[in-house]
Symmetry: C2
Subunit: 736 residues, 2 copies
Amino acid sequence: VRSPLPFGPLSSSSFLCVFQELELASVFVSDAQYNRNIFFDTSPRAVRLYLLYHRWFLKVLLYFFILVNLSLAVFEEPAVFPLPLWATMMVELLCLLAFSFRLVHYAKVIPPDKFWKDPKNICIIVILMLTLVDMIIYGALKATNYYALRWSRVLRPLLLVNVTEGRQLRRAFRSIRNALPQIFYVFLLFMFSVLIFSLMALKLLGKRGLQTIDGAPYFTHYLEIVFDLYVLVTTANSPDVMMPAYNASFVFAIFFIVYILINTYIFMSVFLAVVYNNYKKYLKEEVRQLVRAKRHKMVRAFAVLQEVREEGGEPVVTQANWNQVVRLVRPNIDNAHRELLWSVCDDKNQGKAAFVQLADLLNIEVITLKSRPHPFHSLCPALYLSAPSRLLSRMVHHRAFVIVYDIIILVNAIFIGLDEENPMIANSEWVFLALYLLEILLKLYVFEPRTFFSRHSFWNWFDIIIVVSALIATIINSAVKISGGYTSRQILDIVFILRVLRLIRVVDSIERFRAIINTLIRIGPAILTFGQLIVVVYYVFAMVGMELFKGKVKFYEEDSTDPAKAYCGNPLLRGTAFAQLNYCKNNFNNVVSSFILLVELTVVNQCSGFATVTHVSARIFFFIFHILVVIVIINIFVAFVLEAFFVEYSVDKSDLHTSVERKITELEVIFTECSSRTSVSSFFSLLSSLLSGYRTVDALLQRMFEADLDPEDLAEDDSPEAQTGRNFGNPTFSSV
Amino acid sequence: VRSPLPFGPLSSSSFLCVFQELELASVFVSDAQYNRNIFFDTSPRAVRLYLLYHRWFLKVLLYFFILVNLSLAVFEEPAVFPLPLWATMMVELLCLLAFSFRLVHYAKVIPPDKFWKDPKNICIIVILMLTLVDMIIYGALKATNYYALRWSRVLRPLLLVNVTEGRQLRRAFRSIRNALPQIFYVFLLFMFSVLIFSLMALKLLGKRGLQTIDGAPYFTHYLEIVFDLYVLVTTANSPDVMMPAYNASFVFAIFFIVYILINTYIFMSVFLAVVYNNYKKYLKEEVRQLVRAKRHKMVRAFAVLQEVREEGGEPVVTQANWNQVVRLVRPNIDNAHRELLWSVCDDKNQGKAAFVQLADLLNIEVITLKSRPHPFHSLCPALYLSAPSRLLSRMVHHRAFVIVYDIIILVNAIFIGLDEENPMIANSEWVFLALYLLEILLKLYVFEPRTFFSRHSFWNWFDIIIVVSALIATIINSAVKISGGYTSRQILDIVFILRVLRLIRVVDSIERFRAIINTLIRIGPAILTFGQLIVVVYYVFAMVGMELFKGKVKFYEEDSTDPAKAYCGNPLLRGTAFAQLNYCKNNFNNVVSSFILLVELTVVNQCSGFATVTHVSARIFFFIFHILVVIVIINIFVAFVLEAFFVEYSVDKSDLHTSVERKITELEVIFTECSSRTSVSSFFSLLSSLLSGYRTVDALLQRMFEADLDPEDLAEDDSPEAQTGRNFGNPTFSSV
């Protein structure tokens, strides 16, 4: 690997040059902090462009355009809100332009050879080209009134994967891709089992002249049996599929029980085991690579900043340089925090080993704790420290305060459950609102507001938002009611939802529940990654599904008197279970319906209606969807939740801390002692190191696997030669 | 702990006494080998009784009586095959007598204070008493024609748990019991979430005047909503439960999607995580205890056998004593095998450390490999070694042979799929049978029969059993057809099943499949434990369900013209989905139907029909069943399969071997070399150490956790004082 960095001594450079070097170093540190893996050009101009590339407003703009591009499906044929073709085309062109700009910007930042080697970029260019071609063909065909297909719409979600720095998303896709070969073999075996069972069912049941409840012949066609038995694995048609055979003889029930045991329980568990195992294995490998890349970047930053203080001594980074880099990386850091970081880093030697930890240190949130007295205390100490005020404070701090409010919440729950037509109950709502407001005001009086509103006080924020919104909504509702004499259904809905949500607060009072809820909140951001993943897959299936099934099933409003309502507007559905169960709104007629239908298909895969209105082969669409979403993605999701909970359990029990956190915890003690001695006005404490460590998904993953990581990866002795000896550049992360 | 053993020097005892000591030692070794944990009296008489207690025929008899006792439900009211009351009562009395005998036998074996301290025994006595009381009351009431309830039938499966040495079963119950507190908190949180969502649904949807497809008001009653939403978690009523709201506005679909995401996906994953984590934790603890108990027993055996050979030297066990103990423990062991074991044990010193390993060594299967020439070779070497014979042998060994037969199997599969009415295809069956027979004969000609029929050649056994049975069944079928001119449906069914099963053989040819299948075969015995567990739980629910719901839903044969057939013989079911879908045979009218229905409920919990025919509160029965079986037991089952596969993956990759296996593998090399030099006629080799290690469930568990076990548990330095110092007697395994 050719190093694009001049590693020579830098002390004789001009001020501008020194600043450029500091900037370069800060970019390396910042990349290490956020685990960015872009092999950028190190020329000053490229570094500037690179900094611009990572500005938040450009990223927000990019996400905005992706969102616009994806949501075009709402306005395009078949549309929820139809817009003329030229309008959607113009917007799409604008989006493509934005993506092209972003790509050009990226191309300016990294060396050309790297740019063309990265399949991610090729992928984006191909997608942009194909979209453009498709738009031209589609526009031309539509203009001449021919039938046209917007096939490039399925490519749109791939932009979400490739254009953005959606590292987590790409990683999730990679773990799926990596797990696929293993899953594939289990899947083959599973399908083999389904095929064998189907053959047996055909031989055992096909000749008996049995009938389904519709009067159709039962189990006489092989492929039908295969499909029915496959659906049985999803439990969607249990026990219907087995009833005709079971009615004939209970012996046949044994066949189905064995089938369910093997295919639903054992094979599905094996799928989960395989997915989980692969997921863990490859994630571990990726995290290892991330840790290596982070160290490598910090070593490069160190190489830029290093100075040899004494002859033959180890190169070090001076505190002045260190301060400037930290200021560049985090402009809004306060001095005390920076000093704390320096004192953590400055552990005996300021050499490379200490410097390398900086990236992790910057990721740890340090918050000021109770250093400030309450504003009332400063403003009016006599009143705030008076006996009634102190009593109030003791009261609010008391455990009984929490219990009283829990009881109030429970009583409130009962009142919500009762009929709100009763005026007494309708008015009681004001009492409860007043009580909740009082609670918040009391807490604000007693607790220091900045602590109360600190970023991690989830429940305080939750309380305030819910109570204040409920207050506003209730006032608007009453105002509307008094002025117009009618009740707005929408506002009332919001009021109801807010009232019920308030009840959730009771969970926080119970220790055991809090632990579970905290874990769930902590894995929340990671679940969002899966949300993106699901959106990408759903979007592709929605686009294909809309082309295949649009308009085949129609929904008629409740008050419609059209006779076609009874069979969803399609005579083929007359008398089918699909129409009888009133599933007409489960259709692919627009993108919103499609998404909701796909969620339903994820839960229970029932697609008989669509096979009826088109062709039996339409089942293939639902079959592929089930394999991809339920067998692969849902299992990866379950694997993730499992792993997160296991980490939580092991962290609770053992002292699994990152080395840096350990050091800070030690230091904290010293600091506390020092501050009490020297009366430093503000001292730092750490938020529970767990919470802070989990701030980013990467940190969570790193923690997940740190216990298993090779000690080599965290070893301190990596000279640049050793690094290059290992032929270790930026790890290449391929696109999907 | 008082040691009941005289630890003094034993060399001066009489022959009888020496034999008694050998017997005692062999009992300790045997207990250690099979992980039995019974604190028996060490007096010679008790040891004799103890040996009798563990005789296989007494155990078989016990299982037979348990089976009879459990299957009484088939003959009792409501019966599949009704028998007069006196007959079932007599049989039950006989069973109770047998269990009492067994208990008395047990009481004679162990010290009285131990007997009365063990809750297992108290439990058995109480069950026997209660059953007797119930039988008397029931008999008296029936004789006077009053309504009577056989409530003690629910206690029967508890005998399966407590009377037998069902260690795995009791362990499974214990892991459930241990996991319950943790599961309980998650369950509370989950129920809280369901309740909150239900309240929100009531407020949002209850006042809109929506209707279900039956025309009933939608979401107006709180408890109904709670139940509907709970069932939605099981996915049984998806998407039906959401359709009325979704038809009103697609916004409400969001409510259901959020609900499904949180409760179906996240909470169910959390349940799995909690169950898995607890399962693993407690199992690890139990296995640790097992390992300790095993070592302790071996130390006691050593204490009985030890002799101090030289002054001040370590006590040792002489080879003569060692041989006699091994002969007592395994009477059918051959000399060469015993010599091998001795040479493994005899590693430099014959002290305690080496002796303690004996229990594990006895569990390892050692098989003789290819030591014998083929019988034909001995009988007629000239012919067997002739050129055509050698060619044949090479042919059978060739990879093409396997491929040719795989192709034959696939062609056979197509022929099976085709219509067997066609005489050409019907006759082709004879060709295929001949081909399969030829394959087996060729293999028997080429491979040494004992190797071919060795215990672990699963596929060879499978082949022979399937092909020979198919041959017999096909011949009988043809004979019946020719003689009587009709075809027996039953025989034909068996022929079909055998034909299809034969196709499974193709799986063995593909390496990847073989690995998965082997894991599944290996965890098979452990799955049987879960089978017992499920039977216990199902039996209890079947008994309760039969009392609650018997006769409420009737099934009419297909050709019945009774008008009641349309509503399952219960006017309450007129027009319900239950009757329309023809679920009449899903009833609790006898024990077989009940079991099949409970399996269906495990897959998809649909119980609307039973609530209709009795009372809404009947849902509680189904609710409890779902919690217990699906949330707890199925999750433990999934946890077990996951763990087994993870162990498999880690064993595949790493060199996770027990210390004993490692030693044997080393020794094997030496042995092989020795035998080639000294031309020992037969030498030993090990079956793949993996296979042998997995022979028992305990061994599998021990392997699962050995990597995590405290080194202390496997340390070699445990003097009797250290043992007693740790106050370590037999670990007490409480009953359920």
